[in-house]
């Protein structure tokens, strides 16, 4: 499992804010996802209705999760596949290793999978003499750098082009050292060539799954590169890793969620490859894996059912919440200290590994509400972060000095870059809420402030933005 540094969130954030390479990468990436998503949403008038539908499909499935998982398993078996039920990360790692061993696997190719990061599959395989090769371009360079993803759909979000070039030169030593990377495309071409060899060598291919379909026993992956498809098509054995909440009842249900996923994630109408895998190669087929395994993982999900965090299990891992989060935008993903960053991570991580191990995480928010407003399945992320804070408070895990929300505000305010990014977003949110009111008599979480005074509704830019403007004018 990935080492947990979440309790050091403050230090991590401070380091991130002072890291010029990271700040450059965040600056480059900033806005790209936002604009593309906004455009895709604007082009689909039914998008808001689809969000309600997405939420309802997931709620219906979660309420009947036991039924749909059993129905799903029956269909996988009928199509010649196997389902391995795993309660814990240990169970899942053992199941994957056993399948690989039975296949006499030496090399395993991997499609991008966050659950694989959560389980620490790579380290486990390596420890047992099997070589895992990440094939998603972003994951590939992170494996070369021995780093973890900083974003759930764009793992190398924190890197600049120069990093790619330097790492490729350093590690692809069989290629001429003076070769030229004139364009990003040249980097892509080199990775394609390198990874082609790996795809052809691999004995086993491991992918994640965006959805499992009870009606048909299918697992679904969504990619743009085609690496996931090569991973699950070429080797003799395909293993799909999926947590239990990935199941949906029918193809129609999956289709409605797919209409939300790519638009929310990358701002595409549909990803390039959306692939449904159902069982193993059929007798007359000319290609495809001979064995098809689904490793079905609980690892803490069932504990969330029936709690105030059940709704988090609707998450379809689109990353819209982190793309729109001012805190994420200022510090990147690594500062969150575990596999899942951003608002969804701040809720999910304590649920999966325990609040006592994650400390500050649910406080990594300005409560601007942007995450909830873009979430395709309408997960009330800010509310859930507040639930965690309450639990944390009840357990007296919070140091006394932090037992007020304004103390957190103070922490943000002392970090100018973070504060500016956060207030820009909060300002926009407050402006909307209080439009036409002039001031707030009370505000959630700012009781200490509004008890004695009214908070004026922000007009125009933030104070810092105005100040800077005034300075320039002089």
């Amino acid at each position: 499992m990935v080492a947990i540094t979440s309790p050091a969130f403050k230090e991590n954030a401070r380091t991130a804010l002072a890291d010029p390479g990271l700040q450059k990468a965040l600056g480059t990436a900033k806005g790209a996802f936002l604009q593309r998503r906004a455009q895709a949403v604007a082009n689909l008038p039914e998008f808001e209705q689809l969000r309600d539908i997405g939420r309802d499909i997931k709620n219906h499935t979660l309420a009947n999760l036991d039924f749909y998982l059993e129905a799903y398993e029956a269909k996988v078996k009928a199509a010649g596949g196997q389902v391995h039920w795993c309660s814990t990360a240990d169970d899942a790692r053992a199941a994957v290793l056993e399948i690989c061993r039975k296949a006499n696997a030496r090399t395993v190719t991997k499609g991008k999978s966050m659950i694989s990061e959560e389980l620490g599959i790579n380290a486990h395989l390596e420890a047992h003499g099997i070589r895992p090769v990440e094939t998603d371009l972003g994951e590939y360079i992170l494996q070369l750098r021995q780093e973890h993803p900083s974003h759930i759909i764009a793992p190398a979000f924190h890197l600049n082009r120069e990093d790619w070039e330097a790492d490729f030169r350093r590690l692809h030593t069989d290629l001429p050292p003076d070769r030229v990377f004139a364009e990003r495309r040249d980097i892509l071409a080199e990775a394609r060539t390198k990874l082609r060899e790996k795809f052809l060598q691999a004995d086993v291919g491991i992918t994640g799954a965006n959805f499992l379909i009870a009606e048909t026993g299918s697992s679904v992956i969504v990619t743009n590169e085609g690496n996931g498809d090569l991973t699950q098509t070429l080797p003799r054995v395909h293993i799909a890793l999926a947590s239990i909440e990935k199941v949906v009842p029918t193809l129609e249900d999956a289709t409605s969620l797919l209409r939300l996923l790519a638009r929310s994630a990358t701002g595409q109408d549909f990803s390039v490859y959306t692939t449904f895998s159902t069982g193993a190669r059929r007798p007359a087929d000319l290609d495809g894996p001979e064995e098809y395994h689904v490793v079905l993982i609980d690892n803490g999900r069932s504990n969330m059912l029936g709690t105030e965090f059940q709704e988090m299990l609707r998450c379809i891992r689109c990353a819209a919440c982190m793309n729109h989060c001012p805190v994420y935008g200022a510090i990147g993903g690594h500062a969150y200290g575990w596999v899942y960053p951003g608002p969804m991570g701040s809720v999910l991580t304590p649920s999966l590994i325990g609040i006592e191990k994650t400390g500050m995480l649910p406080n990594a928010s300005t409560f601007c509400g942007k995450c909830e407003s873009v979430c395709p399945v309408k997960i009330p992320l800010p509310k859930m972060m507040r639930h965690w804070r309450e639990r944390e408070f009840e357990r007296h895990l919070t140091p006394a000095t932090q037992r007020s929300n304004l103390a957190l505000w103070g922490w943000f305010a002392r970090r100018p870059a973070l504060y500016r990014a956060a207030t820009r977003a909060a300002n926009a949110a407050l402006g909307l809420l209080g439009r036409g009111k002039g001031s707030f008599h009370s505000l959630p979480l700012a009781g200490g402030w509004t008890a004695g005074r009214d908070l004026p509704v922000p007009e125009g830019g933030t104070f810092m933005a105005r100040y800077a403007k005034e300075q320039r004018r002089r």
Binding site: Q49, I57, T216, T250, Y273, T275, S277, N303
Partner: protein, 254 residues
């Protein structure tokens, strides 16, 4: 057993036991009838506009489309495309009856092999099962006559699709598959693999900037056979066989 442990944990969380029989029957009914949800109106169009929407969406996603009047026109269209792109005239083709019935002998320079794709292939020719106008997406279910590797390994993927196979929304494509496909192994209708392909492969992993041609094809070229009189562009439907193939394909993504 782990399965029972997980199901038990789920039921404890949901504060109930196994679902009562009537409830299970109801959910089973939902699976069997697979009700549709809201379908965006964008693809609910007259046939000619639906096909035009498909083409527009393919091109928006950096694919190319060439319309030909009938299957007889396919060999020339392919030979010209390969020549224009400076690509080899030898390639693997899906052993699908609709493709093998094409009069290839008219273009003897095309060296066509009916097989799956291998890593050394530069070009492949696939059979399109359906096209989805909503997003310009090809539906490619695996079958002995439609190997999956033909979608993936070559730098240039060509797909022959009949205009009558273009539908508006994904749901319509699912219903076609349900009606037309039988899978012997599972007794259901799902083949081993179905790829929905929207444009050529790409990555934005380097500085969130889009580059075409990641691990899959760098070019996706669709040869669209106008076999559906109702789907011809307005004004041409009554005209004699459409002669001119509308403008050559734009440079594919480079």
């Amino acid at each position: 057993m782990t399965k029972e442990a997980i199901l038990g944990a789920i039921r404890r969380g949901l504060k109930r036991g196994p679902l009562p029989a009537d409830q299970q029957a109801m959910l089973g009914g939902r699976l069997a009838t697979h009700p549709r949800h809201l379908i965006p109106s964008r693809s609910r169009l007259p046939r000619p506009d639906q096909v035009a929407l498909f083409i527009r969406n393919v091109e928006k996603e950096f694919g190319t489309v060439e319309r030909v009047p009938n299957a007889e026109a396919v060999p020339a269209a392919i030979a010209d495309y390969l020549a224009a792109q400076n690509l080899p005239s030898r390639f693997p083709m899906a052993p699908h009856p609709e493709l093998t019935a094409i009069p290839w002998s008219e273009r003897p320079l095309l060296e066509i092999e009916q097989r799956r794709a291998e890593a050394t292939d530069q070009v492949s020719l696939q059979h399109g099962y359906a096209g989805i106008a909503e997003t310009g997406t090809l539906m490619l279910p695996s079958a002995p006559e439609r190997p999956t590797t033909l979608n993936l390994l070559a730098e240039t993927e060509m797909v022959v699709l009949r205009a009558s196979r273009i539908v508006g929304a994904y749901e319509e494509a699912w219903d076609r598959l349900r009606a037309e496909s039988r899978d012997e192994r599972s007794g259901g209708f799902m083949p081993r693999n179905i790829m929905f392909v929207t444009g050529p492969s790409r990555s934005a992993d380097i500085e969130q900037t889009l580059e075409l041609g990641a691990h899959g094809p760098r070019r996706l070229h669709i040869i669209l056979i106008d076999d559906d009189p109702a789907a011809l562009p307005m004004g041409e439907a009554t005209a004699p066989p459409p002669v001119a193939v509308p403008g050559g394909p734009a440079a594919p993504g480079d």
